[in-house]
């Protein structure tokens, strides 16, 4: 009897010990797995952020190049002409020769205004996002492309966020004009509690499969980057009936 009980205690203890060590190893393995997953997610996030940063830098560089070219070829050339005209007028001492200078100055002022409007659209500042988007749509609408705002709830977005959304719409319009061969563009902005739902659709060729797969190319990274800046999620898809559909959900709960 004594021997049996001792044997029972010893074998039982070995069993319990094995279970205890199994628990400890399980805890260690589980944590290791979680750490590996966290590292993987961190890696994906870092890669994503790097891509975002690259896209931002690229777009900033492109914008600077464009501005530089416009200043050099437009405003710079105009100012050179004005200078030349003024030198001629000075040499001749004839005030009549200043006539064309006024015209050149008007052109220069108009060009500078145009550039400044592109940098920070006055209409957005003065009349708000809806008018600014309408203005954008008016500018691109012609006989072959029609645009419409199907729904618009007042959004009360901050100035900076409105500008971001405006830039996103600009980028989407750019895509449609450059790549989609669309004839219609629809846009809506709906308020749903603390979120704003923005939808942009066209009836063009839609996004190429590889662009949809990576959400890269065609300025999509730039759009995602801007969306992230205003705490929004963005999705790109192709409609069943053809054409692109972009949904943007702006979370305003942390404003």
């Amino acid at each position: 009897m004594e021997g049996k009980v001792i044997l029972l205690v010893i074998i039982g203890t070995i069993g319990v010990m094995l279970m205890a060590f199994s628990v400890v190893f399980f805890v260690l393995l589980y944590r290791r797995k979680v750490l590996e997953n966290e590292l993987e997610i961190q890696g994906v996030k870092t890669r994503h952020q790097t891509e975002m940063l690259n896209a931002t830098l690229k777009s900033q560089e492109a914008e600077r190049n464009r501005l530089g070219t416009e200043l050099h070829d437009g405003v710079g050339a105009m100012l050179s002409t004005i200078k030349l005209n003024l030198e001629v007028a000075k040499r001749k001492g004839d005030i009549q020769t200043l006539g064309p200078v006024l015209g050149h100055l008007d052109d220069t002022i108009s060009q500078v205004r145009g550039i400044s409007h592109q940098m920070m659209p006055i209409i957005l500042d003065k009349y708000g996002l809806k008018r600014a988007v309408e203005d954008l749509f008016d500018k691109i609408s012609d006989g072959s492309l029609s645009t419409s705002i199907t729904h618009w709830d007042e959004s009360d977005l901050e100035q900076q966020n409105s500008l971001m959304l405006y830039r996103i719409v600009q980028e989407l319009l750019n895509n449609t004009i450059k790549h989609a061969e669309a004839t219609e563009i629809d846009f809506s902005l709906m308020k749903d509690g603390l979120t704003l739902k923005v939808q942009y659709t066209d009836n063009g060729k839609g996004f190429p499969a590889e662009v949809l797969e990576n959400s890269q190319g065609m300025g999509l990274l730039n759009i995602k980057n801007r969306a992230q800046a205003i705490n929004a999620s963005v999705s790109f898809e192709n409609k069943n009936e053809g054409g692109a559909k972009v949904n943007l959900v702006i979370d305003r709960s942390i404003d």
């Binding site: 004594e2 001792i6 205690v9 039982g12 203890t13 205890a20 805890v27 944590r31 750490l35």
Partner: protein, 226 residues
């Protein structure tokens, strides 16, 4: 077997010294958890040494010291878990009260202080296995930490292994000694489990003190909480 048992008994008795000396000669781990782990090691060393002399000089069995150790050690360990675990105040208070009432009742009406107390040994065993599992659970809830560098993990592991190894011994101890009147030779095998568990616990606690000394966080409470 006897020689091995004696050798293991000596090693078990001094196994707490490494942690005690480390705590005394380093200044880094002056945290509530570090202090209490030191006290647990000190208590282990004192009670093991006291048993050694007590049996030879005063009384033929070690239960007077053993029972005192179980009670003091219980409250120190509950305190450690209270300091380690997040939101553990009610849990620790409840089991401390249950243990106190159970101890008073069992020692007052059921067991003599010179014999093994089934309630105190089994209740403390189950309490600390459960608290260790709660610690593991909370550790796994905390993101992004390497467990092997967490004093909390090692403290919970030392108690978890110690009490898991002693679970059956504590359940059957009274029966073996007082009902079956087991011979000391036969009891040696079971005693080896006890010694092995004690040595393992003390060395793991020593490692936990080293980690606390190195500055690794020794609590699962949010930063700033006490």
């Amino acid at each position: 077997m006897e020689v091995f048992n004696d050798w293991l008994t000596d090693l078990s008795r001094v196994s707490a010294i490494a942690g005690i000396l480390y705590y005394i000669f380093t200044k880094g781990q002056n945290t509530p958890v570090g202090k209490t782990v030191f006290l647990i090691l000190l208590l282990s060393f004192i009670s093991d040494s006291a048993i050694y002399f007590f049996i030879r000089l005063i009384y033929p069995n070690s239960f007077i010291i053993g029972n005192s150790w179980v009670i003091l050690n219980y409250f120190l360990m509950v305190w450690v878990f209270y300091k380690i675990l997040n939101k553990s105040y009610k849990l620790c208070l409840a089991i401390a009260i249950a243990f106190s009432i159970g101890s008073v009742v069992t020692f007052g009406f059921i067991y003599d202080y010179k014999e093994a107390n089934f309630f105190t040994s089994v209740f403390s065993t189950i309490s600390f296995i459960a608290l260790s599992l709660v610690t593991y659970f909370q550790l796994l809830q905390k993101p992004g930490k390497r467990l092997l560098l967490q004093p909390v993990f090692w403290i919970a592991t030392s108690f978890f292994i110690y009490y898991s190894l002693l679970l059956l011994r504590n359940v059957f101890d009274s029966y073996l000694i007082f009902e079956l009147n087991i011979s000391s030779e036969a009891y040696t095998a079971i005693n080896i489990i006890n010694l092995f568990a004690n040595i393992t616990k003390n060395f793991i606690l020593f490692y936990a003190l080293v980690l606390i000394d190195k500055g690794y966080p020794d609590t699962l409470k949010p930063t700033g909480a006490t």
